[in-house]
Symmetry: C2
Amino acid sequence: MNLQQLRYVHEVARHGLNVSDAAEALFTSQPGVSKQIRLLESELGVEIFVRHGKRLAAVTEPGRAVLDIASRILGEIDNLQQVGAEFSAEDAGRLSIATTHTQARYALPPVIRDFMRRYPHVRLELHQGNPKQVCEMVLDGSADLAIATESIAGYEELVTLPCRQWNRCVVATPRHPILREQPLTLEAIARYPVITYDDAFTGRGQINKAFLGRGLKPRIVLTAIDSDVIKTYVAMDLGIGILARMAYDPAVDRGLGMIEASHLFESSTTRIGLRRRAWLRGYVYAFIEGFAPHLARRMVEAALSGGGEDYQL
Amino acid sequence: MNLQQLRYVHEVARHGLNVSDAAEALFTSQPGVSKQIRLLESELGVEIFVRHGKRLAAVTEPGRAVLDIASRILGEIDNLQQVGAEFSAEDAGRLSIATTHTQARYALPPVIRDFMRRYPHVRLELHQGNPKQVCEMVLDGSADLAIATESIAGYEELVTLPCRQWNRCVVATPRHPILREQPLTLEAIARYPVITYDDAFTGRGQINKAFLGRGLKPRIVLTAIDSDVIKTYVAMDLGIGILARMAYDPAVDRGLGMIEASHLFESSTTRIGLRRRAWLRGYVYAFIEGFAPHLARRMVEAALSGGGEDYQL
DNA sequence: GACGCTTACGTTCGTCGTAACTATT
DNA sequence: AATAGTTACGACGAACGTAAGCGTC
């Protein structure tokens, strides 16, 4: 048994049981992968994959156990390399963040500016995606941490920690009547066409819930994954926008008026997600604390190593 | 990086930083081990061991992290082999139990008899030791599970689950006046010389505590690790014995009288200890449930994979 | 001076890639 | 017919063991 074999089965599973794809992803030959998998199977004495003739069709029951363990081992191997990097060059390296547009555009900039000042030798990578993609990136190791709002819980292999709470505002063209509603109500909003976030995104769930709770059906004319897109169409007066409060800046968004809507919706919680039992570089802890000051290193460490318990904000 | 290198550093650490010993234990040559360790160090870019000239003197800080991760990886490799064995021959294999004398002699026999009847192809191994040794055996993989009473908690890498509660009785020669005490008191016991368990053994802590709580100082004339030894000396009238209740059987111990003492001491809890995140063969779960019927498979699994939380009986 | 780690070197075994073959869709 | 996995074989490289060298205790 060796690590290569574990990488092979892992990658084959990840590529939908396609050995050729996996081989390509691993920069090696297809027959080599095939052979090593068979060797592993014969050493363990179990079939990992169900074969239909010469094609891999499914994962056997022991195969599931093997794949599960293999991915844990590969995760620990990753940790080993992190340890090496950390101690050979404490303040240099790479930090890969997977996050949604709203976070990247409105919540992270000041945090990242401070971080880059403090750690000039860390190369930062910002990957964008929807919450699900963001989680996947962390799970498959292409990102070190996920920052997102919705559906980030529910991944067993991910540890999530609450960072910030936020809520919504309504934006509209400057002289739009919605801006004079005192107090603003859901009913008032429902009278106008609405532009807001895509489903499965940045707290869209909370918005749906609020209207549903009052038996209202807002006329949603456009959805986007991107606050800037929403603002653009609102400025064209195609509708009023329901937006993350942090995405409105009076200095920049002079073509738009804003009215608070925090009292209408449940607040959303932005969370970071980390691979369970990950070994993190020192500067990753620093970044997390910069984003959410209550998440001191030892708290994050406790959450990473511990069970499934969830912190409350 | 490969698994062999991880085995090497792990074993060297376990052998007190003696490369030669480790090489012997691994059935390989000393230069080979030495070289592979240096290769690993250079690949990770950190020194794992502190070298005084040519001798290994200590573990560096990154070394501690590396050793920690390495031992987790090796544990998972072990799990992989267990998976293989389980699915290729479900009801055959090996079950290695590390336990204390009292458990092996009085608590386990009926459990083991039933187990052997149910799993005739499983080779059973019973290792004896004090609670600390018993835990070590599980940690270094020479035993699958530990069964003991005291000081089995406190090992971070061990998951412990409560199995049975038990208490003490007092034994003495058949016509000894202590047997007529109604009710039996600690003060009465303290009037006679006492023979009981060794410190750090089978619930000896509870006994000390009870006397201390009443300001009494029993005259302990002999201690043993072994209930049978205690009974032997009690039968010779060298003192009265404080014994695990389960160690007295009127049919066998006809040369001794017994009187209950459960009301005098806090009860002790026998626990099983398992390597955290171990993958256990099906029959291991069966054995555990045979010993402690409330520990169904899914409860044990939850405890193994989960965090440090402790079940209460 | 004895013990213990490292360096050097030759052999062996394992791994990888190419090419030819076979099965599935 | 095209796509996907296996078998066969040859080349390269990595790991191991032996023997000699060098530092500590």
